[in-house]
Amino acid sequence: MQVIKGTLDLIVLKTLSWQPMHGFAIAAAIDERFGGELALEEGALYQSLRRMEERELITGEWGVSENNRKARFYKITARGRQQLRREAADWERYSVALTRLLRLA
């Protein structure tokens, strides 16, 4: 399963809403949530992180990972949470409508 265009940011934002994470952990969490079914290109994930940092939806800062490695930790901002709420609602409405359309015989 490919990531549907435009939903990567939403996925990452949602993932970060649970707790601050570094990129590698985010990739792992997404993998886990999607049961390994999502073919995520990890480069795209990092682009998404920096993009959202630029938009100040998340902030990143260097720290030390659980394996004692240097890693850049990302944290969702208040603005990010707002964005998440808005986009999640949009997505829900969109997917319900799309599902309804697809189920029409």
Binding site: Y46, R50, R51, E54, E61, S65, N67, R69
Partner: protein
């Protein structure tokens, strides 16, 4: 924390490295995980890269985002830094409101005065006239030639004949237009009024390149001699005031002078041509006879009436030098045609291309250099203010040195510290300039009314240029004022700063502040000296014996507007006026006269037995005035010898003459002049016997020596050039207050076609002494301002020094010094600085004084009254300023001072 991590991202390579680090960290983590899961390292690397995708694309995208983000953060940081500095500064400033107020007021007065004077000087000397296209190609023409008696005459006015000749002769290189200002009577009967007219040639509009606000301007066919077309263009302000800016005004009829004019257009707002004076109506040059009905019908072909100023526009590509050459050649040719065919006439005829603004040209008003001087002085006062503010800021920076040291030690960068000090300076200067602008706005109007009474009232000297000037000044002043403390802060060594207690004596650093203080004292000495000199000049100007009692003297003139002679004649009307006025309560005396003080003068050829004409020509000009009975009593001119002119000196009686003291001395030296013979009007005229000698009279000019002058009975004036032109009226009280009474008394006997003008001689005298009065007033104001600034500066420096030296003073007192000796010490400290300043100031005044010598009257820089008074004033100020700190020093408790150690 955020800040700490953000710091390395300040540069582009740092951002790139950050991105690379993150990618590497991810790949390493992935490989590590895969290897742990049992994959061979090479395989793990391949898989990790595959899962990551195109590294280069990702890296580029990440760098882009990170770069933009870093820039935004940096910008925000800087802004918040400045905002924080501003907040800190405001807190600092409100913590010591007294010092802050002093600083703001000082700067406000300095900036206000400077902006005000800038506006004025800009208006006079720099601002091009409104609505004029490409003013750089415009110039005024000044002519110079020899008259019949080989006298060089410099003039900025020419006859209509010469104008047309110059215009046609220079057609290739320049377009020459003519203009002349005059007042005209508009309307009829009781509703008539006197308005400011400007007669201009038809090409005036094209030469200036101005467009009408309404209707059209007059053209060439409407400006043809002898009488032009009766068309008028209204001044914009006049149009607004008289008809409420009614656009239906075009085609309306307007009675101007002797004729009825049709309104054809309205000039644009604030358009006054090339002079700052207000203009109500614009008329074709050739309609001049509507105002001066006595001009001969062929006036335009004669060269005896010089009344037109010339303004010219260079043709594209032509230079002023080419224009001058063409105009001079034409002018010389034209002069030859009229005068004797003399090479010297041709050689001396010259037309010069001068600046468009008359005030920059050779014939500027006397008050213009004064205004320029005042502007320079305002700049000096601003410098004073700056140095004082710098002084106060420096004192405060020193008081705050421990705080500053702590901040520097805590990692505040020097540049940040510098920025903070500069922000402080700019905030203060901005507040000061806001105050200054308020002062300039209020004062500018008053000053321009005072200095430039002819300036159009709609035009304020205060405008966008002044605003820009004040804003620029604020920034410069802010930087200047904060430079001293900033430099000081930069130079300090942190460790010494931290160690030094805030109240204890550190190494005394009087150098910079003392220099500032000395320069303040010097400048205020110079200013006060200048003020003193102007006050003395003013006193001298006022006390010059005019040769008549100017106080309570009125002048009445009557203007005939309708064509045709007055019923009974003008001279008769004036005689009736004088007769009637002598019976009016409050009027002491009245007499007719041909010449009006400070308004007109005239001369005619005379011949004196025993003297040749060359000798008399050297005495030129010899002023003549035909006067009516009671003239000398009315004027208050004393008769030194013999008698005045009497009523019985009628047309049939023996011709008589009264001569001025100077004329007696020039013609007959120590001989008795009574009974001598003078042929007035030339050798062919009969003898006029000298019957009296009057004191010397300043008829026209206050500063020059009184001209040689004589008076003859009006009834015996055979010269033929007209009779009385005015009635002089001596009132018992205030002349100004008597004006309505005089007008009422004359109105009933004034024909409806005659317009009466009444003005007071004191007003005219006032106008003449105005430059000195302005100089005296403004210099006094600036001098006092400067003195206050210097006084405050001295006070703050001494007060600071005393607080610095409280320990030392305490020890001295503990060792037996008396309070008096302490007071003397402090006061002497102050006085010493002031003395140095005074000496410097006097030196500056002596140097600068040379260039103002020409505008002073009867005083020199080292005036025995002005100099001591100035020095005394400064010393008193020094004593006052040091009194409080000295008193405080004497109250230092030795025990306290020692404990503090």
């Amino acid at each position: 924390m955020r800040r700490f991590f953000r710091l390395p991202l300040s540069s582009r390579p740092a951002v790139s490295a950050d991105v690379d680090d993150e990618i590497c960290a991810h790949l390493e983590a992935r490989i590590h995980q895969l290897v742990q899961d049992g994959m061979p390292p090479d395989e793990a690397r391949r898989v990790a890269l595959q899962r990551f995708g195109d590294v280069e694309t990702t890296r580029r995208a990440m760098r882009g985002s990170a770069q933009r983000y870093a820039i935004r953060l940096r910008r925000r940081d800087r802004l918040s830094g400045i905002a924080q500095d501003a907040r800190n500064t405001l807190r600092q400033l409100t913590r010591s409101p007294g010092v802050t107020a002093v600083i703001i007021i000082t700067l406000g007065l300095g900036i206000g005065a400077t902006a005000m004077m800038f506006g004025l000087v800009d208006r006079l000397l720099f601002r091009p006239p409104a609505h004029v296209r490409d003013p750089g190609a415009l110039g005024r023409l000044y002519t110079s030639h020899l008259d019949g008696e080989s006298q060089a005459i410099d003039q900025d006015e020419v006859s209509y004949l010469r104008y047309t000749q110059l215009r046609d002769g220079a057609r290739e290189v320049a377009d020459v237009a003519a203009m002349a200002g005059a007042s005209v009577i508009v309307g009829r009967g009781a509703t008539s009024s006197r308005v400011a007219a400007r007669f201009v040639s038809a090409n005036f509009w094209t030469v200036l390149g101005v467009k009408p606000a309404l209707g059209r301007f007059f053209g060439k066919d409407e400006d043809q001699p002898p009488d032009g077309s009766n068309v008028v263009v209204l001044g914009n302000a006049y149009w607004r005031i008289t008809v409420g800016a009614d656009s239906n005004v075009l085609g309306r009829q307007l009675d101007i002078g002797t004729r009825r004019f049709t309104v054809i257009g309205v000039a644009p707002p604030d358009f006054h041509g090339v002079t700052p004076a207000r203009v109500d109506v614009w008329l074709p040059v050739t309609t001049r006879r509507a105002r001066d009905r006595n001009l001969p019908a062929d006036w335009y072909a004669k060269n005896n009436l010089w009344w037109l100023e010339l303004v010219a526009r260079l043709r594209p590509g032509a230079t002023p030098t080419q224009a001058e050459a063409a105009l001079t050649a034409t002018f010389a040719r034209a002069n030859l045609r009229g005068d004797a065919n003399d090479a010297t006439v041709r050689n001396r005829a010259r037309v010069a291309w001068g600046p468009l603004l008359a005030e920059r040209g050779p014939r500027r008003e006397a008050s213009t250099p004064v205004a320029a001087w005042l502007a320079a002085i305002a700049g000096i006062v601003l410098l004073l203010a700056c140095s004082n503010v710098a002084n106060l800021l420096l004192a405060r920076a020193i008081r705050r040195r421990r705080e500053i040291a702590v901040r520097v030690a805590l990692g505040m960068s020097r540049s940040r510290l510098l920025a903070q000090l500069l922000v402080e300076g700019v905030i203060l200067a901005t507040a000061g300039s806001a105050l200054g602008l308020a002062i300039a706005f209020a004062g500018g109007r008053a000053l321009s009314v005072f200095l430039l009474p002819t300036l159009a009232p709609t035009e304020h000297v205060f405008n966008g240029r002044v605003l820009a000037f004040a804003a620029a000044t604020a920034v410069i002043v802010g930087l200047l004022a904060s430079t001293a403390p900033a430099l000081w802060a930069m130079r300090q060594d942190i460790s010494t700063l931290v160690k030094a207690g805030s109240g204890k004596a550190s190494s005394r650093r009087p150098g910079l502040r003392t220099i500032l203080l000395v320069s303040q004292c010097a400048l205020s000495t110079t200013l006060l000296l200048g003020a003193g000199l102007f006050i003395r000049s003013l006193q001298n100007a006022r006390s010059i014996p005019l040769g008549y009692e100017a106080r309570s003297l009125l002048v009445v003139t009557a203007e005939q507007r309708d064509p045709g002679p007055l019923p009974g004649g003008r001279v008769a009307l004036y005689r009736e006026f004088a007769e009637r006025l002598r019976g009016v309560p409050g009027v002491v005396n009245a007499a007719t006269t041909k010449q009006i003080p400070f308004a007109t003068s005239g001369s005619t050829a005379i011949s004196v037995p025993g003297h040749d004409s060359a000798f008399l020509a050297r005495l030129h000009p010899i002023m003549m005035n035909p006067v009516g009975p009671n003239y000398f009593e009315t004027m208050g001119t004393r008769i030194i010898r013999g008698r005045a002119l009497e009523p019985q000196d009628g047309p049939q009686a023996q011709r008589v003459i009264v001569v001025s003291d100077s004329m007696t001395k020039a013609l007959w030296a120590s001989e008795n002049p009574i009974g001598k013979c003078v042929h007035v009007g030339g050798a062919d005229e009969p003898c006029s016997i000298v019957v009296g000698v009057a004191e010397n009279v300043h008829q026209y000019e206050v500063r020059a020596e009184p001209a040689i002058q004589y008076w003859i009975p009006e009834s015996q004036n055979q010269g033929g050039n007209g009779g009385a032109l005015a009635v002089m009226v001596r009132t018992s009280g205030d002349a100004q207050a008597m004006m309505p009474t005089v007008r009422r008394a004359l109105q009933s006997m004034t024909p409806p076609s005659v317009y009466l003008t009444i003005w007071s001689v004191p007003d005219a005298v006032d106008r003449i002494v105005r430059p000195w009065r302005i100089g005296a007033m403004v210099l006094t104001a600036f001098g006092v301002l400067g003195l206050m600034i210097a006084g405050m500066g001295l006070y703050s420096v001494l007060a600071y020094a005393v607080s610095q030296r409280s320990t030392e003073l305490g020890i001295r007192m503990a060792l037996g010094a008396t309070p008096f000796s302490v007071i003397r010490r402090v006061v002497l400290d102050g006085v010493r600085v002031v003395m140095v300043g005074i000496v410097a100031g006097v030196a500056i005044a002596m140097v600068a004084g040379r260039s103002i010598d020409s505008i002073l009257l009867g005083v020199t820089t080292i005036d025995p009254r002005v100099l001591p008074a100035t020095v005394a004033t400064l010393l008193v100020a020094a004593l006052v300023a040091s009194a409080v700190p000295a008193w405080r020093a004497s109250r230092v408790d030795p025990a306290d001072a020692l404990r503090a150690e």
